[in-house]
Structures are given as C-alpha cells and as structure tokens.
C-alpha cells in the first residue's frame, strides 16, 4: 500500500477510487483471499485496512479501489469469495478513510 502523499484530507479527493466495506470470516487466510483476487484479476488496490470485529468471529475490511470503471466486476468477483459475507459501497466513508491515510502518514 502506498503511503500516499495526502497531507490535507480536507482537499477534494480524486473521484477515480471507490471505497468498499467488506465483512469477512476472520481466519488467517482471508487477507490472502482478498489480496490474491486483486492480483490475479488485474485490479488495482490502493489501500486496505482490516480489523477483527464481533469478538473475533468476523473482520471488517476497508478497501480503497482504483477501478471505478471495473467496479462492478470487482464487486461481483469479491461476492463469489466464500469468506466474504457482505460488501457495501461506502462513498460516505471517504473522509474517514482519508483521515486514516493521513494518520498513517503521520505515524510514518
């Protein structure tokens, strides 16, 4: 994941990315399932953030996807993964994701 040079999250964001929120089964292979899919389907993944929820039974994965023209295919292919329980397109979460990116940049 590139530590993007977004220093000011309040600036207008490029519109060629989409924000997806996945709910997935929480086990050690699930990140590989998601990242592997992006590699083998030739989709670009700009950012990923993952955290266990629901007392560890599931995880929540935020994806920043640089494929607005292929987004339908990205979502359909993700839907096919058995470990993916739910997918939401979450444009409303863009400011939050930008904040997270800025925080990552600050941590360095």
């Amino acid at each position: 994941m590139p530590a993007t040079d977004i220093h000011n999250p309040s600036e207008a964001q490029p519109v060629n990315t989409a924000i997806l929120r996945l709910t997935v089964n929480n086990h050690p292979g699930v990140m590989l399932q998601i990242c592997g899919l992006f590699v083998r389907r030739n989709f670009n993944l700009e950012g990923i953030f993952c955290s266990a929820v629901d007392q560890g039974a599931t995880s929540c994965i935020w994806l920043k996807v640089d494929e607005t023209d292929k987004l339908d295919q990205v979502i359909k292919q993700l839907t096919k993964l058995e470990d993916v329980l739910a997918i939401e397109e979450r444009p409303d979460a863009r400011p939050g994701v930008s904040e997270m990116e800025a925080m990552m940049a600050r941590i360095g």
């Binding site: 292979g29 590989l32 592997g36 339908d72 295919q73 359909k76 292919q77 839907t79 096919k80 058995e82």
Partner: protein, 564 residues
Amino acid sequence: MHTLNGAQIIIRQLEQLGVDTIAGIPGGANLPLYDALAASTTIRHVLARHEQGAGFIAQGIARTTGKPAVCFATSGPGATNVLTALADAYLDSVPLVCITGQTPRALIGTDAFQEVDTYGMSMPITKHNYLVRSAADLLTIVPKAFQLAGSGRPGPVLIDVPKDVQTEMVSFESWWPDPLAAGVECSPASDAAQAITAAAAMINAAARPMLYLGGGVIHAGAASVARKLAEQGEIPTVVTLMGLGILPSEHPLSLGMLGMHAPRATNLAMEECDLLIAAGVRFDDRATGRISAFCPGAKVIHVDIDASEIGKLRSVDAGIAGDARAAFVALLPHIEKQPRPEWRRRIRQLQQDHPRFHPDDFSPGRPFHLIRQVAELAGPEAYISTDVGKHQMWVAQAYPLTRPRQLLTSGGLGTMGFGLPAAIGAALAHPDKPVVCFTGDGSLQMNIQELATAVEQQAPVKIVVLNNQSLGLVRQQQRLFYEQQYFASSYRIKVDFAAIARGFGLQAFDLDGADDPDALLTKAMQTPGPCLINVPIDIEEEVTPMVPPGAANTTMIGGSHARN
C-alpha cells in the same frame, strides 16, 4: 455420542455423502486418512500412479455423473502434483473435493519434511479451500465443501488436513445435517422475470438470432430444454468445446463448434447474426477470437449462473444471472414459432459455399476416417475422452456426439495428460458403458503411468493413440506463424507404445504397417478390457480451418474449401 478421530470423521462423512470411489495416493501426511479408509466397506479406493492422475480420475467420475468426486493426496509433492488437475477442474467448472494431508499443526511454517503451503497454492485455482485447524471443524467443513463444489457454478474445493488433526479424537452428539439432502435451490435473481420478458421480446424481434451454448448448459441439466428453445424459435445453434453434445452434430439447427477451429460457415454466420443468445458460456478467447470483432452487429442476451460472467468481456443487452435450465423453461412459453426462412437460407448458402468436410477428409488413413470408424465401433452409448492437441480438435470436429457429458475434454486449461486418467474415471463410474480415449503421442506421455491403473482396475478403456511423433499443434503454429522454423516440436525417437502398453499388462495393437488396418481396428475395439491402439498419422495432417490467436473469427486459414 460419537467418538472418532478426524480421519474417521472424514471417511464417515464421505460415506454419508454417497461417495463410492476415491482416487488417490497415500503418503506420510495422509496415512491416518488411509487407515480410516481401509475400514470402509462402501468406498472403493483407486490407487493412481501420480496424484495428477488421481485428480483426473476423479474428474472423469465428476464430468460424467455431474456429482462431486473425491481425490486424496499427501502433503508436499502429493499436493503440488494434484494442483494441475484442480486448476483444470476450476477452468471447466468440474465439481471436485480434494483432500490433502499436511504436516502436523506444530510444524506448519517450519519448512518441515514435505511441507508446502497447499492452502496458499490452491487458493487461485479452487472455488474455495480450507486449512483445517481442529478435527471438530471437519464436521461442518466436509459437507460444506461438497455443497460448494456441486452447487451454483460447480468447481473444485480443497481441504488441507494436518496429520495431527486427522488423529485428533473428537466426541460429538450428532452429525452435521447433510446440506445436499436439504437441496440447494438456485433462487433466481429478483429482476429475473423482467430480464426474461426483455430477452423473449428480443428473440421474437430478431431476424438473425444465434444460440451460443457452453458447458454451463450441461452443468445445469438444460440441454434438452435448450434444444426445445432452438427448435421452437428455429434458432441456429453453435456450441463451445465444452458444449459439444448439447445438440447432436447432425441436428438441422446445429452449426457445430464455434471459434478457432470451427467450420468456416459457422464463424461467418456468427458474423452476420443480429442477436446472440449466450448461455453457460464465458466468451473465452478460443471461442470468440478477437472479442471486439465477435458478432459485431449483434445484441446480446447472456444467461449464466455466475453473475460475474455477465458483462465480463462483452456488454449485454439482457443479462439473466441464474440457472440456465430455469431461464430456458421461463423463456419457452414466450418464444414465438418463427420459420426465419431468410436466415436459414443464408446459413444454408454459407454451408454450401464452405462445406464443413471434403470427401477426401474421410480417405483411409486420415484422421476423420479413423475417428468415424471408432465412433461406429464404439456405438452411441460410449463415453469419449480426449487429450489435448490435434487429435482433440479432430474429435471435436468429426465425432458424432449425441448427448451431454458424452465428451470429456480439457477445455479451459488445455491439459495434456488429461485423457487417459479421465477415461479411467468414466469407466469406473459407468462400468457397463464403452469408454474410448483419443490421445496423441505427446499427451499420452504426460500421464502414461496411469496405464498401470487402468490394468489394475480392469477399466475397459480403449486408448486410441493418434501418433504423429510430434507436438502437432505446436508444430502447426510454427508452420503458420513462425516461418516454418520447427523447433522442439517433433520427437526424434520413435516410441513403441504398443510394446510399452504390453509392459503394463494391456492388450495392444499397432496399425503401423498392418495389412488390414480396418480389420485390426475392429478386432482391437472388440477386445475386452483395457487396450491400446497405436495409429500412425502423417505429421503434415493439420487442424483446419484455423483462426490465428488474437485474430477475428472471420480470419480463417486453410481447410479443404479455403476461400478467402
């Protein structure tokens, strides 16, 4: 209360799921599983000679029955060897459940003996996969794996089981309810009714419609209703390699296989269609040629159970994400009977201008002559497997296939070495039916060790080797596209396949130099048990016509009636 170890749980569940045959090879990491299997009275184990062979034997069972079949392999090389068969099953949507042994949990990640990351390696080539972390998890994982393999778009599922999970004792109250018994219904999408109405209107309004059917139609058990749809709407029909058998080759609406090695008239007719009704197909490049030039003037209806296939390569005017059988049944009452005389006349004209076959093609000693002779001797009940190469395309072009699941062939992955073990699997699943394996000398050498399995199991497979002492399709491409620089595409030694087969304990016949090859072939085909028939084929016999890779389907090279 039951108390069993993990391996016993797996075997008991396989028995409950109705598995009667497992192909595999034991090794250090799956010995507990074999120990439990030895106690089974209902499951027959087929000892393959290479794990890839085991995977393809299971495929032979699965492709002919439509039900998930099972293969076993040990960790490390056992697992890596079986991967090719899994990838093959993945690309052709074949339901398999592969159970591999793995090093004990405590050793995972330590580069232990025969340890590889089977879970990681199988991920991109399976529908789903598991690394089992406790024996209790097997109670849910095994039935779930079967359900996944056989439902929706079928595919292979791998379960990697560490050796100490196989030996771990578990006490449990009840078996997981069988998800297959409950029945997995493919619920149509909510907008299906609307899509059906739209699709029916497009079909009724079309002047030059074309049905384009693939393996998904066979998986859905939709071949007969697809035929009804074609007949009711008088719609000419093409099939993919995986769709061969949906419509008998001699059916008046059948235009045969489309794409790289299609009859000229078929590809030319597709160019002119104004509506493409695609079902259970994925617009593979070998079928479509250059996709931007494929059926350029046609609207598209696409029926597929895998929603991600709809619009993946070709945008659609009506997409029906669902079971092909359900979709065709829903469509039928809306399809008007239309004779479409102009369209039928135009296609007949194309077929007259570019006949599919030339009488010379059937001269003695030529591939089509042999294939038709074998077909006659094998009879309509026979299952036919092929390997990959020229012989495969000749079979696809000329064998009189009459029913779905009759042809077993490696379509998507194009795996040389598929034919013999797949034929053994078909013979095990259908002991009362003839099974013929058409292979080439190149392909046969990729899994020739399974001749031993055929003999050991007394699988009555008739192996017809079309022997041109070369990698024929490679050589053909070097001739056509690499200025006849033939390199690494012919074999410098002549292998005596009949002698090798006899060494394995098969009956063997060699048509090379035979006084009466026809009589010898007849005798060979009538020989009980497994048997190999070596047939010399001229190295210059080509597969024609041919669309160059990456070209439009209307760019066809060669053929007895080449007219560009």
